[in-house]
C-alpha cells in the first residue's frame, strides 16, 4: 500500500536531493496512521542524497529554523505541524527562506 504524495524543495533546498526539485514518493505507511513527523523522517532517510546534508534539513529533531513547511500550499502551523495526518495526493513543500536583495 503506502501513501502517494508529492514532495517539493524550493528556495535552493534541492541541494539536499541532488538538485531534484520535485519528488513523487510513496510513504510506506498506512493512510490514517502516518503523520507529518513520519514524512519528515521519510524525507531525512529516503530523499536526502548525502547523510552529510541532514543538518541542512533537521535541527533539534525537527525541521531547521528558516525552512518553511507547506502542506498543500498552506503553512503547516495551520495544519497541526508534526501531528498532521497524511493523505494520498498531498503536496508537501519545503522551502528555504531567501534573504538576498
Amino acid at each position: 500500500m503506502g501513501i502517494r504524495v508529492k514532495i517539493e524543495f524550493l528556495g535552493g533546498l534541492d541541494v539536499i536531493s541532488s538538485g531534484v526539485r520535485e519528488h513523487k514518493a510513496v510513504v510506506p505507511l498506512e493512510e490514517g496512521e502516518a503523520t507529518m513527523k513520519d514524512l519528515v523522517e521519510y524525507v531525512t532517510h529516503n530523499i536526502i542524497s548525502d547523510p552529510k546534508d541532514i543538518p541542512v534539513f533537521i535541527e533539534d529533531d525537527t525541521v531547521r529554523p528558516g525552512i518553511l513547511v507547506l502542506i498543500n500550499d498552506t503553512d503547516w502551523e495551520l495544519e497541526g505541524q508534526e501531528e498532521y495526518v497524511l493523505e494520498s495526493g498531498d503536496v508537501f513543500t519545503f522551502t528555504s527562506t531567501l534573504h538576498g536583495g
Binding site: G11, V56, P65, D75, H99, G100, G101
Partner: protein, 288 residues
C-alpha cells in the same frame, strides 16, 4: 506645475490617467491616496531599483531611500536604476537623480548610511509604509522590529539565484510579522546574499516589481482587515516561471515583538540589548 483643482496639475492627470481608469485601482480617490502617502525603501539594490522606478512613476507623494552603499559595476546587471555614469556614487543619490527625471512630482529623501538600532525609529516613524529591499537577515529583523513598534506595514521581498519570495508583514498592526514566520534566526552559515550566491537580474527585478504592486494595493486601500489573509508568495524562474501563493499563519500570540507579552521594546533596541549583527551573522556592508 500649477494645480487645476484641489488635487493635481494637468501634468499629473496626464501622467496617471492610464492607471486611474483601471477599475481595481480605484480611480481618483486612489491616486490622491498615493499622492498623500510616504514610503521608506530600505536598500536601493536589486529589489529597490525596480520598486523605486514603478512606485515613483505611479505617483507616491514622498519616497525615502536608505542605503549606505556605493554603485559598483558588479551591481549593474540587476540594479538598473544605476548606470555606468553613477558608479562610485551613493546608490541613494543615483536613485534620486533618476527619480527626479522620471517623475518630478515625487519628493525624494535620502539617507546615505546604514539603518541601525540608534537611527531606525527616527527614520521609520516618518513614513507610512516600509519596503524591505535588504540583503541580510540582521537588517530584516531590525526593520521588522522597528516597523512593528512604530505601527508600520512592511512589504518584504527577497531573492537569490533563480527564485524569490514576497510577503506583507505586520499588515495594519494585525497581520503576522517576520518573527511570527521566523521566531529563530537562521545560522550565519546558512545565509547566502545575492553578491555571494548570485542572482539573475530580471529574477530579482520581478520580485521588486511584485513589491511595487503590493505597495499600491496597500496604499490604495485594496486590502482591509477583513479581506487581508497572511501569505508568502514564491517565484521560481526555472523550469517554468511561476508565482505561487502560500497561505500563512496568523500573528503568533507568543511572538517576541508583536505578541501579547513582547520582550522586544523600543528601549531594548535603543539600548543595543539586541545586537542584530551578532544574533544572525555579520552584516556585510556591501550587500544592503
Amino acid at each position: 506645475f500649477p494645480k487645476i483643482d484641489d488635487n493635481f496639475s494637468l501634468d499629473e492627470y496626464k501622467r496617471y490617467g492610464r492607471q486611474m481608469i483601471v477599475p481595481d485601482f480605484g480611480s481618483l480617490p486612489s491616486q490622491i491616496k498615493l499622492k498623500n502617502s510616504s514610503i521608506l525603501v530600505v536598500g536601493a539594490g536589486g529589489l529597490g531599483c525596480p520598486a523605486l522606478l514603478y512606485l515613483s512613476a505611479a505617483g507616491i507623494g514622498k519616497i525615502g531611500i536608505i542605503d549606505d552603499d556605493l554603485v559598483d559595476t558588479s551591481n549593474l546587471h540587476r540594479q538598473v536604476l544605476h548606470t555606468t555614469e553613477t558608479v562610485g556614487i551613493h546608490k541613494c543619490e543615483s536613485a534620486r537623480r533618476y527619480i527626479n527625471k522620471l517623475n518630478p512630482h515625487v519628493v525624494v529623501e535620502t539617507y546615505q548610511f546604514r539603518l541601525q538600532n540608534d537611527n531606525a525609529f527616527d527614520i521609520v516613524s516618518k513614513y507610512d509604509l516600509v519596503l524591505d529591499c535588504t540583503d541580510t537577515p540582521a537588517t530584516r529583523y531590525l526593520i521588522n522590529d522597528v516597523s512593528v513598534l512604530c505601527g508600520k506595514t512592511i512589504v518584504s521581498g527577497s531573492g537569490l539565484k533563480t527564485e524569490g519570495q514576497l510577503s506583507i508583514l505586520n499588515f495594519n498592526n494585525k497581520g503576522p510579522c517576520y518573527r511570527c514566520f521566523y521566531p529563530k534566526p537562521p545560522s550565519p552559515e546558512s545565509v547566502t546574499s545575492c553578491s555571494d550566491g548570485g542572482v539573475i537580474g530580471p529574477v530579482i527585478g520581478l520580485l521588486g516589481i511584485t513589491m511595487a504592486v503590493e505597495t499600491i494595493k496597500i496604499l490604495t486601500g485594496y486590502y482591509t482587515d477583513e479581506t487581508f489573509k497572511p501569505f508568502l508568495s514564491m517565484y521560481s524562474a526555472y523550469p517554468q516561471q511561476q508565482l505561487r501563493v502560500f497561505k500563512m499563519r496568523n500573528r503568533k500570540p507568543d511572538c517576541a515583538v508583536c505578541g501579547n507579552l513582547p520582550q522586544i521594546l523600543k528601549e531594548t533596541i535603543l539600548e543595543n540589548q539586541i545586537d542584530y549583527a551578532a544574533f544572525c551573522g555579520t552584516v556585510n556592508s556591501n550587500v544592503l
